[in-house]
Amino acid sequence: MELSGAQILLECLKREGVEVLFGFPGGAVIDIYNELPNTSLKHILVRHEQAAIHAADGFARASGKVGCCLVTSGPGATNTVTGIATAYMDSIPVVILTGQVPTPLIGNDAFQEVDIVGITRPCTKHNYLVKDVRELAHVIRQAFYLARSGRPGPVLVDLPKDVMQVKTKFIWPEDVKMRSYNPNVKPHAGQIKKVAQLIRDAERPIIYAGGGVITSQGHEALTWLAQNLHIPVTATLMGLGCFPGKDKLWLGMLGMHGTYAANMAVNNADLVLAVGARFDDRVTGKVSTFAPMAKLVHVDIDPTSIQKNVSVHVPLVSDCRLALEALKEELTPSLTEYDFETGHLPWVSKVRAWAKEHPLSYQPSETTIKPQSVVEKLHELTRGEAVICTEVGQHQMWAAQFYTFNEPNCFLSSGGLGTMGYGFPAAIGAQFARPDKMVIDIAGDGSIQMNIQELATSVCNNLGVKIVILNNGYLGMVRQWQELFYKKNYCSTCMDAQPDFVKLAEAYGATGFRITEPGDLERVLKQALDTPGTVIVDVRVEREENVYPMVPAGASLTDMLLV
């Protein structure tokens, strides 16, 4: 049977398991939209294309599946670029479908034409321009395969209008074979033995886990290793949730706004097991002084991550879960031969002493609401079981520090790119992935305004997304840097002429709350979380509160500014 390009595309999406498509129509994709009602695909109309890609990204992070979005050519396509780069930096599997002008017009500066394949080349895992409808099914199959396999990432497929219209015989390619792409997922047995021996020999080991543990679903194996071998665990922003935050071996996040205990532990460890993390500058601080006493083991599926920022002693190119499971198998017999608990006791005690010496804390106040206390209260009211999304800035760090995460796929934040405006659309995507969960976007008053228009999408779909704005009237993180390093020159960081967020919520058909008194915090937050549908809570917090601890950019991890 002959199908049009648009029909083939939608059939392929269905077969790839796409349930929800986030999108925004336009001239170049009308043919696809024309066929949409004939499929079982759920299409969610966003209000800006940037939100479509962030929602697909949020869906992917919360579900572990590939997210998908559909936009038109030209501005529709360019509006997704920030979201594509966001997904690329955090290795999130997303397939982006962009419309394109008809093939005979490509290169002629046609209306709404842009070379989106050229533009997104450096921020996609791969991208395609489909010029022949007979290639379409193959390309879609490859796009999903590339997006989800190896180190996941965004893959863009550019679809000229005429290719969507023309008909051809639909053949579903059962297999995807690419001679130039064979990611190495299994760990090398010899390297596993080496790492296992380093673990047996270590006196002061620490696990430094990143997003790769969550992507690979390696959290159970990691938890087993840590708990049975008595190894303290720290994680990057992307790794939060890969180890239970309530566990005694949990040190909290490391790096620029990491805990005192985590940074001190890395600095004093004799073995650092880096798993699915990439030694980002926000984590290592001054690279030359990072983990100066430690042997470094680096497990990562992407060979380019290894030896990029730091030189490691034992590299292990592998899927993180497979590597952790192999280590578990290798080390299980050692549990009877070695007494890891006693052996690591002095170290674990020392680490706990650091945690006690400088725990995450803040000066409580009776007159103003402390932003940290809002996050703590949210944790309490949701029993730590919500999916937390964030924008980027101070609120993001407070969310990371004070909402204790116990499960993977529950903290959605733009880690690598640091994209303001990410959290709310990502929360919309996450709510579709996890209708059973409470989804909360912890936002700042600056960030939330970058994709505030999605209130319409959320209300229109009856989503119960809760937005909690830690409103300090500043672009708080930049203000904090200006205070600490730029002589308090608060240039362009004071958010004058703010909207009335409560009225704004109401204007969109959502519900708004405002909290100004510390005494009202618990009651009104609870009321807000109990309110069905989309809710904004405008929490007026201490205006010039800073995020601590803080390692100034380029300083060593031990040079922390503490509360």
Binding site: V117, G118, R121, P122, K125, H126, L129, L146, M178, R179, S180, Y181, D302, P303, T304, Q307, K308, S311
Partner: protein
Amino acid sequence: MRHILSVTVENEPGVLSRVAGLFSGRGFNIESLNVGPTLDPGVSVMTITTDGDEQIIEQIVKQLRKLITVIKVVDLTDLKSVLREMVLLKVNANDTNRAEILRTVDIFRCKVVDVSIDELTIEATGNYDKISAIVGLLTRFGIKEISRSGMVAMKRSIQN
């Protein structure tokens, strides 16, 4: 240190810009880049001359391998290989120095491929050192134009 990379790629639109974009985006240096088809019309080979310390070269090789359209990357610097570059040089030539130029051309087994009253166009082929030597020697006569192919390379059959 200079490294010669032989990069086998899928012969498809955009593959050159993927490779070139990788180098520019990550701040790697390209000294020369040559690309041409192979006997398999679906495959091209690029020869890239680049420069950097061991860690940078390792990153370049890994990053190239990570590109979906790259099939194979070989660092020929570690192997015994044949390296050749062709250069065309347009040199000022008058009655007093023409003989001298032709002698140089002869010594280096170059060819004169075009001639006029006051110019000679010379074709030279060789490895990096030879090309540098020819260019160096002809500079004093005044090179008016130069066009270089970039290095092409191949692993030698016998490595020991």
